[in-house]
Amino acid sequence: MHIHRRDLLKASVAGLAGLAGGVLALPRLAVAESAGAIKIGTICDLSGPLQPFGTQKLQCIQLAVEQINAAGGLLGKKVEVVSYDAQSNNQLFAQYAQQLALKDRVVVAHAGLQSSSREVIRPIFRRSNTLYFYNTPYEGGVCDGNAFCTGTTPGQLLANLLPFMIEKFGKKIYVLAADYNFGQLSEKWTRKIAQEHGAEVVASEFFPLDVNQFGPTIGKIQQAKPSFIVNTFVGPAHASFYGQWAGAGMKQDIPIASQTFGEGGEHLRMPAEISDGIYVCYNYFEELDAPANKAFLDAFRAKFGTDYGYISDLGMSEYVGVRLWAEGVKKAGSVDRAKVVSALESGIGMDAPGGRVVVEPKTHHCIFDMHIAQIKDRKFGILQSFKQVPPTNPGGVCDLVKNPNTNQQFEPKI
């Protein structure tokens, strides 16, 4: 018995060693480069709690690249996507950003979901002179000559949603936010905008991403009796708030405005009566009635089927980001970073599925149509629309045309 096991173990060790050797060789083999392809890189959360957010982002990028290649590619070459799964872990974002910059040497990176992941990789791409696109709605303020942001900012989202809620429901606001830079800075914006409209934030609570018990919070909210709640929750743990809120019978008493609800398809994963009535304000909804949107959804479903969750601003921003970058490359006639940046600053736009999107040269952000909507029966019903809203830039502090070497995130001053 003893001897047999030893032989088995010897054989397995030898086998494992051989396997390890083969495996070490594998990455070298797998990187058989398609000669002359233009490589773009992306890092998305394809597993872990942020999976529903990251998966749609990668799918939209892939669709955009497929459409670009079908139309003849860029500068006569095919575009290829190098993609990494950050597994909802910021440490891996740092690692893969290095990899995209140093090993894969991509000409542009479209990466990052959470604002914390963005702040990890933005300096890495800046150091390696890799053009960087952050395609996610966020808390605004990034002013970086090497970066372009195609997500909405508080000047577009909160600045329209909050006055709507204040006028409709009243002036006392209770803020529930995720405890990281996105939630913290969004809360500051909420306080600033509230002040500008004569309203007041009576209390703010911050929750790390793994908190999923909100009993005491619901009690405290009832004690404070606000007019409405502003909610900046992220991820599946936070999503359990809505069920607990409905379970406590609070839905008809205090309305909720959310900066993030539905972006990851949360409304499809809970009973309709829990999500009914929540107010949001985004640039893109699948429910938007426009020919460009219909064409997009048809193409998406043809490629990925119909069982994909929900495409929101999160995925659409990646689609728009890749397409805008491609327009920049075409206009510049090159993938050289400086030339593409100049091209993008010359006022490039496109007719996206969510309306016209134009790059704003001073801030490297985008001008969007915005819509306020309310959920009913798991569908978004548009209530009000605003055309071509410019991005956040209080006092014009960010001017990358005049000062291209700026590298900062501006925060709201209250």
Partner: protein, 340 residues
């Protein structure tokens, strides 16, 4: 005393290590070197727990607390000071100080076994919760924001002492990490062969007997605990450098349990085993994450379960049995005497 085979073995290891230290950067491309560097750093962390647990008999379920403290101390200090020599020292001394306090609290209270494991785990979790919720702008030490769940990005690299402009490059970072690993390994071998080391092991074997022989077990355990924390702290400093980033995940239960897994896979009670276990598990984790063959956790889980059922003492003892048996037979054949 040392046998000839053992001395030759150590010398071979030392030469091999030096060869890697000087040679690897020339042979391997920068990108793979960066990957290997993190394996080296985590091996140093594993050695710290191998000392504390494998030789000291202290099941510390919160070794990550010292690792994280070292990393955060370095990051905050270097962002404030701009020069890295003092921050590196802080990253080593702060965990040691904390370990001294925690060790005093536990060992003088005669807490042991599973209860000690729970206290150390709890400490690491407290750090996790506290650090994870400091992302507000009001949480800063000097000019360095604690960052909360965001972590601290953009941590400046270690520079040549006295010359803040001259920061270490990727290959120098590898060489520094490798040097630290080699120093730690040989330092621990020396420590364990010394009188101090023998007393520590005897306390692990039978604390009552050691005390009856006149050794104050509490002091020796405290010393081992503090030394282990210092080594974990150094690893933490290097880790914060490696990714220019440190985040609260280093304090999570997932990470602290991983350190224990490395030791168990490599073989509890060995030093080399700690390194082997770390490298294998981390290599597998990274490779699975990149090739996406199957979910990383799923594969690791299957491997662990099979491992425990087939290789219960860990890899180093198994390898030693397999190949050491061969060496012993040769020694017997050559000298006619028994194995050393």
């Amino acid at each position: 005393m040392r046998s000839r085979a053992e001395i030759l073995g150590l010398a071979a290891l030392g030469l091999g290590g030096l060869a890697l230290l000087f040679g690897l950067p020339h042979v391997v491309e920068i990108f793979a070197l960066v990957d290997i560097t993190v394996f080296v750093i985590l091996s140093t962390l594993a050695l710290s727990l191998a000392l504390v647990w494998g030789f000291g008999g202290i099941l510390c379920f919160g070794q990550s607390a010292f690792f994280g403290l070292g990393g955060y101390a370095y990051a905050i200090a270097v962002l404030n000071m701009g020069e890295s020599t003092v921050p590196v020292l802080l990253g080593i001394l702060l965990p040691m100080l904390f370990a001294a306090l925690l060790g005093y609290f536990m060992f003088w209270g005669r807490v042991s076994d599973v209860y000690l494991a729970v206290i150390t785990l709890t400490v690491s979790l407290i750090f996790f919760h506290l650090v994870n919720s400091t992302s507000g702008p009001e949480y800063r030490i000097g000019s360095a924001p604690l960052g909360g769940a965001n972590g601290i990005p953009g941590v400046p690299q270690i520079n040549v002492p006295g010359d803040p402009g001259r920061q270490l490059g990727f290959d120098e970072m590898f060489q520094l990490a490798m040097a630290v690993l080699l120093l730690t390994y040989f330092g621990l071998r020396w420590l364990l062969a010394s009188h101090f080391g023998r007393v520590v092991v005897s306390i692990r074997e039978n604390e009552l007997r050691a005390e009856l022989l006149g050794y104050d077990a509490r002091r020796y355990k405290l010393a081992v605990f503090v030394i282990g924390a210092g080594i974990a702290g150094v690893a933490g400093v290097l880790f914060a450098n490696w990714g220019s980033f440190i985040g609260p995940n280093v304090f999570s239960i997932f990470f602290t349990a991983q350190i224990i897994i490395w030791i168990m896979v490599g073989g509890l009670g060995t030093l080399g085993g700690a390194v082997i276990g770390t490298v294998i598990i981390q290599f597998l984790t990274t490779w699975l994450g990149e090739t996406k063959i199957a979910d990383t956790n799923l594969v690791l889980g299957v491997i662990f379960v099979l491992f425990v059922l087939l290789v219960p003492n860990g890899l180093q003892p198994m390898l030693r049995d397999l190949f050491g048996g061969w060496a012993a037979r040769r020694a017997v054949a050559r000298t006619g005497k028994g194995a050393p």
